[in-house]
Symmetry: D2
Subunit: 242 residues, 4 copies
């Protein structure tokens, strides 16, 4: 574990130790020597560190053929290209960069996009605690984009809407033609609902994240499958199939 | 039944006939003589007719001490005052004027207002078919007003909201300080959810109206209780207690 | 349309006429000559008739290279084998036999099975009108079987459950190790919710069928895609991908 | 605060300190002298201690005219009678004994009972984490009893149910004639839904408790209102009106 003393790192360490099929061989944090990893015989690392150090960490791992599952942020196209270059020389090594390790959020987005082709109407409702600064949430925007792309590909036009008189904001925000509504409610954590409808029926896909611990199953899934996905993978989605 | 041949009238007639404790003694429609009511010994009438004729119908009923349950629209303050004047002379007769006979919608509004005093946060989501012209719905606006009034009475300020960057409309419409979100989805009929939240818990009150027939239980409730509510009553709410 | 005068047939005819990319060329019902189909130049038929006549209808269609979308019931292994034999001689002709044309129900089952691999817990709640004779519903049983199979394939054991004292029935019915709960509520039509949960998060997939008309989009989907699926297909699922 | 060092006590202390209209004057735990309360000028105490000591605590409080809000368990009829005797001599002092301080749970039960009179059908679904030992939950049983009592008072018979073939448990547990269904799902905390239905409409009341902290608003409510309710009160319900 790289970033083993951080909040996330500690939870990942605990989860790895609790898993029967995984073994925690090294905890590394700021100031520690990366050689600890090779000495401990690490086959794969999890990196939740900082944008300033993650590239150095990954160069070391790739050079030593250690797979990596990365939740650290700050990957732009340049960084991804650099990383891809390193991996070309180590074709058996896999690196997973994921902005969101919640399996539920990833499945919700996938199912929403799959279902979108079959329904006239679709809207998104996200519900979060009232201390959140942005509306709608990043996940809701991303879902709307995926849904809009799936509709376009299926040849669907704008969802039907006969609204002729409305209060400002009553019909939500418009993200690529999809309506998105954000609620801010004390007691909530992070929740989202995608509502799809056609003649006489509706389909609703809802994800409720009640606890930050919800990212650990996705990290473990990444660890278990990263060796089967050599090269660079962006997004946990690709790991959900195999 | 006044307006017995109309769409609503026919459903009410069927419901009255199916009820063991009620008897349908007369079906009256445009062109029929109101004397049919007294000849048939009607104790109470249901009026779903037209604003042009409803006042004549009610004058006849009040004069003959027949209670009335009225779903016809178009009652302004003048009409209510006129009606109140007639009833003063017939103190045992009851008239119920209700804009909404859905027991569920009335209960949802009542519960929302009752609960609003105890929660930091509250928002309203309404979901309707996409042929609806106005957003938010009248019921959602009315609910927001009742909730806002209950909060004010309890000394609560604005619900917490740290949103600092938002897309237009993402946080819904503002009705008396309460956020209201309207979805338009094919396959839906008329649905509303009031979401309340405080430290570590949320309370959600949801009403789903799947069929126009949902007004008939409210009409029957009105018929059964109108004799116990002499004078003029506006809104089904007052009948839900006794 | 075969069975054009039946309740379903009439709705399908109306839906085909309303669709811009489809043309209704013949309405056939009991007593009509099947030759009407060839004379009218039918490329594909929809059959909602009766188990007694459906095989004769399909033999005629296959022999004349007319694709068929079939909602009529009563297909056992013998009938499917017979049909498969006919189709071997007409390799470009497609026949779709579907027990359920609700796209939403089919998607719900597919998504539930896909997600089941990633969650410790899963249970099913179905809600129907109180006149329904069987509990749980056929769709709920089928969903439970698919979910159980997906869990087994993923190497998951029984969902966690520490219940040590329970009232009879409190934990629902057991279908292949998956708990299924059936509610019977006046006002409901046909609804189902699959609830999946893991550490700190839950995923809920809900299908609400408010109206019998909900099968028509599935029938139209079948009509549009049957030519691209030569041979015999059982279940609408296979048509949702291409 | 009595029991100030316990898990609950610490959270209550923090909440009282954060409240502008309340002042925390004394933290008392096992071994401390109760005279601390009078010396500090406490007007009201919260007691989350132990059945073994709570009666001594309350005798001291009542004798010194200190109001009390009590979450400690173990109150049988004998204890309540003893407590009532003490209070007779101090008619201005109020004691609230509440088994459940969740405002949401109390409101859900109240609304369910109020609405039950108006609906043909009602069932209860409770969802909890899979480590829970009993099914259905105590709150669900209590809700079912309140709903059953309300229906009986309104003259309603058994809810309609035409089920003729069912798997064991499919229709849930029977609590006073009301069907109750318990789900056990990893990731859930404590949730309950009461589903009511009549002709063409349903009303759903849902309570989600995501965090143990959800009891603190109820405790603060008790503190603020206990002086206005002299004598013995059992259950937070009575405090929700004034």
């Amino acid at each position: 574990m790289l970033g083993a003393l951080g909040k996330v790192g500690r939870e990942v360490c605990a989860a790895v130790e609790a898993a029967e099929d995984l073994e925690l061989v090294a905890r590394v944090d700021a100031g520690d020597d990366l050689a600890t990893l090779t000495e401990a015989g690490a086959e794969a690392v999890v990196d939740f560190t900082h944008p300033d150090v993650v590239m150095d960490n990954l160069r070391f791992c790739v050079e030593h053929d250690i797979h990596a599952v990365v939740g650290t942020t700050g990957f732009d196209d340049d960084r991804l290209a650099t990383l891809g270059g390193w991996l070309e020389q180590h074709p058996a090594t896999g690196v997973l960069i994921a902005p969101n390790f919640s399996v539920g959020a990833v499945l919700m987005m996938r199912f929403a996009a799959e279902a979108a082709r079959f329904y006239e109407s679709v809207e998104i409702v996200e519900l979060h605690h009232p201390d959140k600064a942005d509306a709608p949430s990043g996940t809701a925007r991303r879902t709307a984009q995926l849904v809009a792309a799936a509709r376009a590909e299926a040849g669907l036009g704008a969802p039907p809407d006969a609204t002729s008189t409305a209060l400002d904001g009553a019909r939500g925000a418009d993200v690529d033609g999809i309506r998105v509504h954000g609620l801010r409610i004390r007691g909530m954590v992070a929740h989202q609902e995608v509502v799809l409808g056609g003649l006489g029926e509706t389909l609703t896909i809802r994800h409720d994240s009640m606890d930050r611990a919800s990212f650990t199953p996705g990290v473990l899934l990444g660890l278990r499958r990263v060796a089967d996905h050599p090269g660079l993978t962006v997004g946990l989605e690709a790991f959900l199939d195999a």
